[in-house]
């Protein structure tokens, strides 16, 4: 981070940061675009058609009838490649195996910004649903014109347009009956959508198209790319951010077997070799002989929350209803909850491949956003954006912003050192862990009160959080840019506006409360680099809200599920998932066994997306300071379900991943730096700790909009765990992770 971070720190110490932000013109703030998407061209269209309106940006038919479908959303391991194809092909009467499906390529696909925030089905799925319905109508029209029939006298069947008399033609032929524009026409505001009752692909548990290669050693990931003549590169990062390179013996490393280049640019170091293991050995040699000085000290981990509450902040009131400062008639609760920094912890360290051909740079990357990354790489390399092509190629699951963008920058920088030669760079485990942008540490405080009739009357809530979105952005959002002789500083961090929210995601209770105030203290500069990780602030906000609901229920003397239902009169879909999870679990039907606890958690993701309710039972193991999750009952409403098995897989994954975060995970660090360099210093849930049983019920909503599901369970699961632990032990823990300290005897 060199100069950059010293600058950021000095800024912070002078306490002028808020002033700097206040001086930002309003227009600049308005331009901030957390999802990295282009402007809306037509607000009347569905999903991403609003921003990319031409049908042939999404679906093309070659003269020979071959069909290609395009999406700007990418496969991050959630199964969207299959689910998006199901939607796109529903009315084209094709199967996923019949088409070429191109995702996330700046030379070919629409710009849909980042694949993030459980937006894929809502944005790209809705676009493809409507685009394909309109294309299907054009195919019928084109064929009918050639046969001189009415368009409704022809149908699509198994990839052909068919007339009543049995004549048929493929889709390439059908398009010849249209004017010269073909499919290059803007989408209409209305689409001839098939009634959901007649869906043949949507709502069916189609097998994922990517799994067979993944279980048999097929080339499935950017890590598996082998281009002719490819060199392997490894980077040497400073021991900590802000450290300056004093000296390094590059020549000694150049003499090692297989080493082709050793690159130094300021504090940036890398090696390129003809073989991967030789590159690793050269990296080790370079790391051993490089001498560094200084570095930005970090705070003590146990003081981080007090630190956060003292940092310069933007104070954003996101709800102010009624008169929260006037006294309530009934009893009240107040609490402060905290969360430590958490790591994405992708199983595969980030990797990228790049090649410079003449004036054209191609980067194969598992970024969440090929277009925003392209802009940042163009700035980093000084190349025009149209001379940089980013092609999404799968990596290990990222769960938000991991090292993918950083290593793409490494590949781009190193490819320039060897024009014409492809360069593959993979981070080592410690590099991934020490330099990834963590999920931010957070603090929430809540004061809530009942009226005289046992209803919630007051809700006063505050939260403190650093940035949940440091994706590119400018080139300075990429770690390698900080290290160069001419470093590029990150553009200032900005809060993500509601209704999506960042730290304040799901900070607004869905419950009907007459007097409520919610304030987001957004911290533009915090001690550690942080960015998006599944569910963002919802993880701690829902834990806080749902913990408070349980405490209020106790004050009111009612069952906690009853209290929730009583405050959701205007939310029938919320009540339905709560009822379903409670019924599946048998909520209130039995008393937990000694040492066991029952817990409930509910949330509608961002208050605008999927509804999830979770009831669970856990057993406390005081001897080992741990818990056993006995059973989990989850009910979810994610609108029209596209692939029920895929949705279940994501919900199960969210439940297990959130159990790991909530029970066990915290980044270890101190003034000398980050200690969580591997899996022994950053333990995550293993097979022995996963819930013994998980039941998922999907409340399908045929015909309603698609709502994503990959981030919807994390908040409710965390809340249910905290509530069940409180039920089991009689003492509520407000600090995540919940485990790692002894239970009282």
């Amino acid at each position: 981070m060199s100069n950059v971070n010293h600058g950021r720190r000095a800024f912070l110490e002078r306490g002028t940061l808020v002033l700097a932000f206040a001086l930002l013109p309003r227009a600049v703030r308005a331009e901030f675009n957390g999802m990295g998407v282009p402007p809306v061209a037509n607000p009347k269209l569905a999903g991403s058609l609003q921003r990319t309106s031409f049908l042939d940006a999404w679906i093309r038919m070659a003269p020979d009838g071959k069909v290609t479908v395009f999406s700007g959303k990418v496969e991050l391991g959630t199964g969207v490649r299959t689910a998006l194809a199901q939607v796109a092909l529903e009315q084209l009467e094709l199967q996923p195996g019949d088409i070429e499906f191109v995702q996330g390529d700046t030379a070919r696909t629409p710009n849909e910004g980042f694949t993030a925030g459980s937006h894929t089905m809502a944005d790209s799925g809705s676009a493809l649903l409507h685009a394909s319905a309109q294309v299907a109508a054009l195919l019928r029209q084109g064929a009918a014109a050639q046969w001189k029939l009415a368009p409704d006298a022809v149908t699509l069947r198994a990839g052909r347009v068919v007339a009543g008399d049995g004549r048929s033609m493929h889709y390439g032929e059908a398009l010849r009956g249209l004017d010269a524009a073909g499919l290059h026409r803007a989408a209409s505001a209305t689409s001839p959508l098939r009634p959901p009752a007649r869906y043949r692909l949507i709502g069916k548990p189609l097998a994922r198209v990517d799994i067979p290669a993944k279980v048999t050693g097929g080339a499935a990931y950017v890590q598996d790319m082998r281009l002719p003549g490819m060199l392997h590169a490894r980077v040497v990062r400073p021991p900590r951010p802000g450290a300056k390179l004093v000296r390094a013996d590059l020549d000694a490393v150049r003499r090692l077997p297989g080493v082709r280049h050793v690159v130094r640019d300021g504090d940036y170091l890398a090696v390129l070799a003809d073989d991967e293991w030789r590159a690793v050995q050269a990296m080790n040699a370079l790391a051993a002989n490089a001498q560094w000085h200084g570095g930005t000290p970090l705070p003590q981990a146990d003081a981080i929350h007090a630190t956060l509450q003292r940092l310069p902040a933007q104070h954003i009131t996101i709800l102010d209803r009624g008169h929260v400062d006037q006294p309530a008639a009934g009893p009240s609760v107040s609490a402060r909850y905290t969360k430590q920094y958490v790591m994405h912890g992708s199983i595969g360290p980030s990797c990228a491949v790049a090649r410079l051909d003449g004036d054209m740079l191609t980067v194969w990357t598992h970024t969440q956003g090929v277009y925003p990354l392209r802009a940042a790489l163009a700035e980093l390399t000084g190349m025009p954006p149209d001379k940089v092509r980013c092609i999404h190629t799968e990596g290990a699951g990222c769960y938000g912003q991991n090292g993918a963008d950083d290593v793409a920058a490494d590949a781009a920088l190193l490819a320039r050192a060897v024009p014409g030669v492809p360069v593959r760079v993979q981070l080592m485990r410690d590099q991934e862990n020490l330099w990834e942008p963590y999920a931010p540490a957070m603090v929430t405080t809540v004061r809530a009160a009942l009226d005289g009739q046992g209803r919630i009357s007051h809700w006063d809530y505050e939260l403190w959080s650093g940035s949940h979105n440091e994706r590119p952005g400018n080139a300075g959002k990429l770690v390698p840019a900080w290290l160069l002789a001419k470093p590029i500083a990150p553009s200032p961090s900005q809060p993500m506006p509601m209704p999506e929210g960042g730290g304040d995601r799901n900070a607004l209770p869905l419950y009907a409360i007459p007097h409520a105030r919610v304030v987001n203290h957004f911290l533009p500069v915090t001690p550690l680099r942080s960015s998006a990780m599944r569910s963002l602030g919802a993880h701690l906000n829902i834990t806080t809200i749902e913990g408070t609901m349980d405490q209020l229920a106790k004050l009111a003397g009612v069952d906690p599920v009853r209290l929730r239902l009583d405050h959701l009169d205007a939310e029938p879909r919320a009540r339905a998932v709560i009822d379903k999870a409670a019924a599946r679990f048998g909520w209130g039907k039995s008393t937990p066994a000694p040492g066991h606890g029952h817990g409930f958690g509910f949330g509608q993701y961002k208050n605008i997306m999927a509804y999830v309710a979770i009831a669970l039972e856990l057993a406390v193991d005081k001897d080992n300071n741990t818990v056993r999750i006995v059973r989990v009952a989850c009910a979810a409403d994610c609108g029209q379900v596209v692939n029920p098995d895929g949705a279940r897989n994501q919900l199960e994954g969210g439940i297990i991943q959130a159990a790991s975060w909530t029970l066990h995970e915290q980044l270890r660090y101190g003034p000398d730096g980050i200690a969580s360099m591997d899996w022994s210093t950053y333990p995550i849930l293993r097979f022995s700790g996963v819930p013994e049983r998980i039941d998922v019920d999907l409340l399908d909503q045929p015909g309603l909009p698609f709502l994503g599901v990959a981030e919807a369970a994390q908040g409710p699961m965390a809340a249910a765990l905290a509530n069940a632990l409180a039920d089991a032990t009689g003492a509520r823990r407000h600090d995540l992770p919940l485990l790692g300290r002894p239970f009282p005897a």
């Binding site: 799994i211 050693g217 297990i656 995550i684």
Partner: protein, 152 residues
């Protein structure tokens, strides 16, 4: 040269005998199944079998494999003709990102080769060294159970 039986074929491998087996499999033999995860034997993404026992190929030097049998996920079947355990993983849709899955399959196969009908407790204990970050554990367990229960 190091002579190693890889998936039933005896090969003369050129890499420096000190090279971790993982890099030899991926780069000299072009096999994708074993993955680099941590390089420290902590996550299991690189799991292969050595004489039938699951090992971390990232910390197993090639020299240690001389004259022995290495089996990778490629040795269990192909996408066109998946082996029984691979087919069970496909049937259970037991992957999310899938980066850990080849290692999971190879480790599980080592158990099934020794204990054809393991209990749930045996499966969980056997799979403990391998990490999955997506939370696919229940499907992995279901696939192993299904393969164990399937008729020969």
């Amino acid at each position: 040269m190091t002579k190693v039986d890889v998936n039933g074929r005896v090969l003369d491998l050129h890499a420096d005998p000190a090279t971790p087996l993982l890099y030899v499999l991926r780069n000299e033999l072009g096999l994708n199944g074993a993955k680099f995860g941590c390089g420290m034997g902590q996550c299991g993404a690189c799991t292969v079998q050595l004489d039938g026992k699951p090992v971390f190929s990232c910390v197993t030097p090639l020299a240690a494999c001389a004259g022995r049998k290495v089996r990778t996920v490629e040795g269990l079947g192909s996408a066109a003709q998946p082996g029984r355990l691979q087919a069970a993983f496909i049937a259970q849709q037991a992957a999310q990102c899938g980066y850990c899955i080849a290692g999971m399959i190879v480790r599980a196969q080592a158990l099934l080769d020794k204990v054809p009908h393991p209990t749930d407790e045996q499966i969980r204990r056997h799979m403990e060294p391998n990490l999955c970050r997506c939370g696919t554990h229940h499907r992995i367990l279901a696939a192993i159970r299904a393969a164990a229960g399937a008729p020969a």
